[in-house]
């Protein structure tokens, strides 16, 4: 499950506004990397560039040697990059089970004709798929809730379900957009455990956008800092915390650098 994402001088311009400029970084296989920056720094735009929602004005994005720009979002998911959203985007009218099942559609070996004929192969396939979905729900403690409408879940469970659904696409790289947003301290602790667990269990690379510094500093191996769409720092949590540019971006340039804690 090795796959390397490379961004090379990526720029995107919306009219006169340069949302992301000359951004380069690499995500290595199995790495847990954080993307931080003040509000409006372009973090979600970077996610949207990687997942094909936006096409970069200039620069290259490649995953495992495949150039991503020009691919549609659903094709990029098939290539092996899955994501969650800043504001939860589950399928509200579907049950917990069906939310995860819908992410398995891309793994179906057969299409519409199979569903219409309903032969033995169809039933075998559906049964196999059902057990795959249940296994996944079981790992994340959502099996008992499989028939509930996803709206009935607590906020933390909804976030978890969104991550499970993203994992159901069997990604090599998982992008988490503010997974801790709106969570209380206990839920954040659980989330950090969960992310570490996913990384170990599924052996995938994870990139997360997050404002909560405790979460980011606590789990990320490497951090990329954006400000006004440009990379101002990159390094381990300790390095980034001491970087004067980062402190300036978060606290303002006039601040004295005291102790190097920008959290």
């Amino acid at each position: 499950m090795s796959a390397k994402l490379e961004l090379d001088n990526v720029t995107i311009q919306f009219g006169g506004l340069k949302a992301v400029g000359d951004l380069s970084f690499t995500i290595n296989p199995g790495e847990l990397i954080g993307l931080i920056g003040p509000n409006g720094a372009g973090k979600t735009t970077v996610f949207n560039l990687i997942t094909g929602v936006y096409v970069p004005t200039a620069g290259r994005i490649s995953f495992n040697g495949i150039s991503l720009p020009g691919h549609k979002p659903h094709q990029i998911t098939r290539i092996g990059i899955s994501r969650t959203f800043q504001n939860i985007r589950l399928f509200p009218s579907l049950s917990v089970f069906d939310n995860v099942r819908s992410a398995f559609i891309m793994h179906l070996p057969h299409g519409i004709a199979h569903a219409l004929v309903r032969g033995r192969a169809f039933h075998d396939e559906e049964r196999e798929l059902e057990s795959d979905v249940l296994d996944l729900l079981d790992i994340f403690g959502l099996k008992d809730a499989q028939h509930t409408s996803c709206n009935a879940l607590s906020y933390g469970d909804q976030r978890r379900l969104e991550i499970v659904r993203a994992l159901a696409t069997k990604p090599k790289l998982l992008l988490l957009d503010e997974p801790a947003a709106g969570m209380n301290p206990t839920e954040k602790e659980e989330l950090m455990k969960l992310i570490r667990f996913i990384k170990g269990k599924f052996n995938i690379a994870i990139m997360l956008v997050e404002h909560d510094m405790k979460v980011v500093m606590g789990i990320c191996e490497r951090i990329v800092v954006l400000n006004y769409g440009e990379k101002i720092a990159e390094g381990t949590p300790q390095e980034v915390q001491k970087n004067p540019d980062v402190i300036a971006a978060y606290l303002g340039a006039d601040h004295e650098v005291v102790g190097g804690a920008a959290a």
Binding site: F85, S93, D98, L116, R118, E125
Partner: protein, 321 residues
């Protein structure tokens, strides 16, 4: 049960054939209503695939019905005799000729559905509704303005279409429509339609090809509307462009909304109810629309999710599981 769906289809087809064979004993007026019910069920269930399951608001179902009606009628009017000769006469030849006519009508409708759908499914909500409404009007106006001596018959439409439609055809097509829509939706593949309806961006991010799903729903919906149109033409033996106006599309949309968006049983119930009500209120012709409007308003206040909403059946499934 594993082959529940196939068994349902088989029983429904056999039952329609059985009833059809003794249809002579059924009162003509009653049979007339029954056939209307069957055609409306086909229309409503097929539109429900587009509006209900896939969440794309189409207001042009009568347009596809018109394409199907004209396509099938032209086949039987222009080529009917040839085809009957080729198949050697008799009831089987009639059935084959009618089947070909219906499929040509459905195919034309599906093709027009694809042509309208490809560019316009990029639009959402109200915009798509307006484009499909526009398509409906274009079909009607174009047909009205064709030459009266030509194959399309102009404003007066076509008459003298052979009355091939009987109980078997109407309810056979309705059963096939119900089978196709419900088996397709009730599969992992079919969850894609619901995912597209619920959240297109999330569906796309989960690897669902949203454009393909929307086009499939649109084309299949149009195909079955075309079949319903062909049945209608060979039932009334006369069709005119005015019969496929905007109000006809609205009738079908009302059935879908009243029954419950995305609920096949609900939509079937609503199609039966509204067709029967329509007949029942025939003596109060001028007040009929008022009654319909009142029913809709009351429904929207009291039960906005429809008569038999889809969630009702999900809950049942959970209990039996």
């Amino acid at each position: 049960m594993k082959y529940k769906a196939q068994i349902f289809l088989f029983i429904a087809l056999a039952a329609s054939l059985g009833v059809s064979l003794c249809a002579g004993n059924i009162d003509d007026y009653f049979l007339d209503i029954l056939l209307n019910v069957g055609i409306n069920v086909t229309l409503a269930v097929s539109l429900n695939l587009v509006n209900g399951h896939t969440g794309q608001f189409s207001l042009g179902h009568a347009g596809f019905m018109a394409v199907g009606a004209y396509g099938a009628s032209i086949v039987t009017l222009q080529l009917g005799d040839h085809l009957l000769q080729i198949f050697g006469g008799g009831s089987i030849a009639t059935a084959l000729t009618f089947l070909i006519a219906l499929l040509v009508g459905g195919g034309c409708a599906a093709l027009s559905g694809w042509m309208v759908g490809m560019p316009s499914l990029r639009l959402k909500g109200d915009y798509l509704a307006i484009v499909t409404l526009g398509f409906n009007e274009i079909i009607r106006v174009v047909l009205t303005n064709t030459s009266g001596d030509g194959p399309f018959g102009g404003a007066l439409g076509l008459k003298g279409i052979a009355s091939y439609t009987n109980f078997f055809w109407v309810f056979g097509v309705a059963a096939v429509t119900i089978y196709v829509v419900s088996t397709m939706v009730n599969s992992t593949y079919g969850r894609g339609f619901l995912a597209v309806r619920d959240d297109e961006i999330a569906a796309e991010a989960m690897g669902v090809n949203t454009v393909r799903y929307k086009v499939i729903a649109f084309v299949l919906g149009a195909f079955f509307a075309g079949l319903a149109g062909g049945l209608y033409a060979h039932f009334r033996s006369t069709i005119s462009p005015e019969g496929f106006n905007f109000l006809k599309s609205v009738d079908v949309v009302v059935m879908v909304i009243l029954g419950g968006m995305g609920s096949t049983p609900g939509v079937i119930a609503a199609a039966i109810l509204l067709t029967v009500l329509n007949e029942w209120l025939r003596d109060f012709e001028q007040y009929r629309m008022i009654v319909f409007a009142l029913i809709l308003i009351v429904m929207m206040i009291v039960r906005p999710q429809g008569l038999l909403p889809a969630s009702l059946f999900q809950r049942k499934k959970k209990e039996s599981a």
